[in-house]
């Protein structure tokens, strides 16, 4: 051993090592410190017994508590689900037009609807619910089949043009051009007339000619003033929102080859509470319409749905 000596100021023996003149005193360790070390060892043994610890050939030891991160995740997911159960039950039990009256429940329902929308609806309507050509924008206040909470709920539940679903929203516009009802010149005239209604085309002679053709062929569904009829899902042709585009060729295309968009009947795919939450979410996007309560229960009329 190296150069052990007694350090004069302290009277303690050195350990015998020296680094650039710095020496270490061989002071004894406090006994409680050693005891603490033994306690940590005992703790570690206990830890190895109750928790997964020792790697084996294929997996590790499981520990007597059978803890696993996967199991913990499952437990946490279950806890989260249980925590939501009460809210979901309340949403299920409350008539949809009355949920908005309960601010807290409404917030939770809209949040739940937002999550369900992300899973089920964004494929067509887009993650911001703004839609695209052929897929309606759900944020505006232009609704083909009605924009109050019950109508939205109805549309969601039974879908649009779903064969085999009795209550589905359904209508069919003839393909005026393709089926030879109108010749291309007439289609062009009608297109000019329709676009002139919102100032997108001049009130030309062609448009005036189109007016007569419109009156003869289109008013049954789109109405004499071309403002549409929700009972047929017939769009308002005088406003600024165009599901299939407001360019001349797009309108001509729509008249020639009629579109008949579809939406699944979510009633058969999602549970009723989720559909309710989806309806509330879509209604809350800024374009939802007030629900006019049927006269039979007038007391509920001003319960919420103060939404524009």
């Amino acid at each position: 051993m190296a150069n052990k000596r007694i350090d004069e100021p302290t009277g303690v023996e050195t350990v015998g090592h020296e680094w650039d003149g710095i020496e270490e005193l061989n002071n004894p360790l406090p006994r409680w410190w050693v005891i603490t070390t033994y306690l940590t060892i005992i703790f570690a043994i206990g830890y190895m017994v109750v928790y997964p610890a020792i790697p084996m050939l294929h997996s590790g030891t499981q520990g007597v508590w059978k803890w696993s991160s996967r199991g913990q995740l499952e437990a946490e997911l279950k806890a989260a689900k249980d925590a939501k159960a009460e809210t979901l039950a309340a949403i299920g039990a409350t008539p949809i037009e009355q949920i908005a009256a309960n601010k807290d429940l409404m917030e939770k329902a809209v949040a739940g609807g937002k999550a369900a929308f992300r899973q089920n609806c964004v494929q067509c309507h887009g993650s911001g619910a703004a839609g695209s050509i052929g897929y309606p924008n759900l944020k505006d206040e232009d609704w083909l089949w009605g924009g109050n909470i019950k109508e939205i709920h109805q549309t969601l539940t039974y879908g649009i043009r779903q064969p085999g679903v009795a209550e589905t929203r359904t209508s069919l516009m003839p393909s005026f051009g393709k089926d030879g009802i109108l010749n291309p010149g007439q289609v062009n005239d009608v297109a000019n007339y329709v676009l002139s209604l919102s100032g997108k085309a001049p009130a030309s002679a062609s448009a005036q000619a189109g007016a007569a053709i419109f009156a003869a062929n289109c008013v049954a569904c789109h109405g004499p003033d071309a403002k549409g009829l929700r009972q047929f899902g017939a769009p308002n042709l005088t406003d600024a929102v165009w599901l299939y585009g407001d360019k001349k060729e797009q309108v001509v295309g729509s008249i020639t080859n009629a579109h008949a968009g579809v939406m699944p009947a979510w009633g058969g795919r999602l549970d009723p509470v989720t559909i309710k939450m989806l309806a509330l979410y879509v209604h809350s996007l800024g374009g939802g319409e007030d629900f006019a309560e049927a006269p039979s229960t007038p007391a509920a009329a001003d319960n919420g749905n103060a939404k524009p």
Binding site: G11, G126, A129, N236, A240, G286, K307, P308
Partner: protein, 484 residues
């Protein structure tokens, strides 16, 4: 130089704690210590029970760390999470304060104010109350276990436990309304974390104050090590003036041999009163927490033998050197002011002043607007362009405040919220913001067809007498040229 008993040969790698039985002492520093102890313990136990009226919308506890609601209340000051820099500033001030204290008066924190010191002191008084002073304690320690010793130990440890429990109990009162938490605690309705905290703090107080004591200072605490680096030759430390005391000798020896013996009569009183059991005559050491009780002990002995006080005294190493060479002892007050202490004081005060300024200048009202970016805009059937925003109105006052949000810019722009019909859209809307809240508001802004993309401002004004407001600049998106 080395006396034989100073040379320790380590016989074992481990050493049992040598119990310390400090003797009671009286003197100026002991009295100061009493004051500090009464003050610190008083502040600790009483503060959560002080009430402070903040009106109906905020808790009425003077000092409250409300973790659940993310609020920190301290008398007239309420701190929100976004103002955490106040707390950070206070912590920095506390840190620099410790530097300042250390560079001026050495380990005064350790000696007087550290909770470990205060509680150890308290527990040592309990020892004296139950077992008697040092000699009685030593006798009892050496005595075999019997009914008497069992009774005394049981009683003493019960008192330890009682004090420890109240120490833990007082701590949780800072985090919830003290009276209702006390009620909940005893009726078993308090949160589990409250019981756990009390349990842990009771255990640590019992163990650290009752049994570990000076071991905490010597082996566990990093602060003595840090302080060693911050002390310099201008810092006041408790010093044995060996040039005056050595060679040690009794009064009789001094009478026989005038001039050949120093002032130290080797009575060992300085060691007997030391709460860490250190002999200050061996020089500065990590075991000396500078509680100055040895000064009191030595002063009273010097008074008995008719010699001047201050054989053990606060002194700087610089003063020691000059005194050793025959210079005059400098008054302590002069030692306090030197470059380092002045710099620390300046920095400390500057941070304090900046915090006070920030406190006075902070606004209690705020608007923060986030624009919906997906989609950037929505075309209304009327052809108007709509942009949606989430507007957060912050009211830090503890009362509801009427506020008005107005659109500044964006010609023809109007807005509505979820709480009003779309038909009532207007340039400005009135909102009553709940006290102590951030209210998120969905705001729909429409501008006439053909509006180009641009920036505009949401202007927030409080419509009450106090007034105040805030502005947030936001973007308005619109269909651009050739875009459809």
């Amino acid at each position: 130089m080395l006396s034989p008993d100073q040379v320790k040969q380590p016989t074992s790698l481990y050493e049992k704690r040598k119990a310390v039985f400090p003797k009671a002492v009286d003197g100026r520093f002991r009295r100061f210590k009493w004051l500090v102890m009464a003050f610190t313990l008083g502040v600790y136990y009483i503060t959560p029970w002080l009430r402070w009226n903040r009106g109906p919308y905020a808790p009425n506890q003077a000092v409250l760390v409300d973790l659940a609601h993310r609020r920190f209340y301290m008398f007239g000051i309420e701190i929100w999470p976004h103002e955490f820099y106040f707390v950070a500033g206070l912590l920095i001030m506390a840190g620099i304060g410790l530097f300042l204290i250390t560079s001026a008066v050495g380990r005064a924190w350790c000696g007087y104010a550290c909770p470990q010191t205060v509680w150890t002191d308290l527990f040592q008084h309990v020892d004296r109350l139950i077992d008697g002073d040092r000699n009685a304690q030593l006798r009892l320690e050496a005595a075999p276990w019997g009914p008497h010793k069992l009774f005394k130990r049981g009683l003493k440890w019960s008192i330890y436990l009682f004090i420890s429990f109240w120490t833990g109990g007082a701590w949780i009162m800072y985090f919830a309304d003290a009276p209702s938490l006390t009620r909940d605690f005893w009726s078993g309705n308090a949160a589990g974390v409250a019981y756990a905290t009390v349990g842990v703090l009771t255990a640590t107080t019992f163990l650290l104050g009752g049994f570990m004591r000076e071991q905490v200072c010597i082996y566990m605490c990093p602060w003595p090590r840090i302080q060693t680096a911050m002390l310099d030759e201008k810092s006041l430390i408790v010093t044995y003036k060996d040039w005056r005391g050595e060679p040690r000798g009794s009064v009789k020896k001094a009478e026989k041999n005038p001039g050949g013996v120093g002032d130290c009569v080797d009575c060992n009183q300085c060691v007997n009163v030391c709460p860490t059991g250190y002999d200050i005559r061996n020089g500065p050491d990590i075991r000396c927490i500078t509680c100055a009780l040895c000064i009191d002990a030595c002063d009273s002995v010097m008074a008995q033998v008719g010699r001047p006080r201050g054989l053990i005294d606060y002194a700087t190493l610089e003063d020691c050197k000059s005194e050793r060479e025959g210079g005059e002892a400098r008054p302590i007050s002069k030692a306090l002011f030197h470059t380092r202490t002045l710099i620390y004081t300046g920095v400390w005060a500057a941070i304090g002043a900046a915090l006070l300024f920030a406190l006075g200048a902070r606004t209690r009202i705020d608007i923060a607007v986030q624009k919906d970016r997906n989609p950037p805009y929505t075309l209304q059937s009327s052809g108007e362009v709509r942009n949606d925003y989430t507007v957060k109105l912050r009211n830090m006052e503890t009362r509801p405040r009427p506020m008005e949000v107005t659109i500044d810019g964006l010609p023809g722009g109007r807005m509505w919220t979820d709480d009003m019909p779309r038909e009532q859209a207007a340039r400005s809307i009135k909102v009553l913001v709940e006290p102590d809240r951030v209210d998120p508001l969905r705001v729909y802004v429409v501008a006439p067809s053909g509006t180009a993309e641009q920036h505009f401002k949401f202007v927030l004004r409080a419509s009450d007498a106090e007034g105040g407001g805030d502005v947030n600049d936001v973007r308005f998106d619109a269909p651009g040229e050739g875009e459809e």
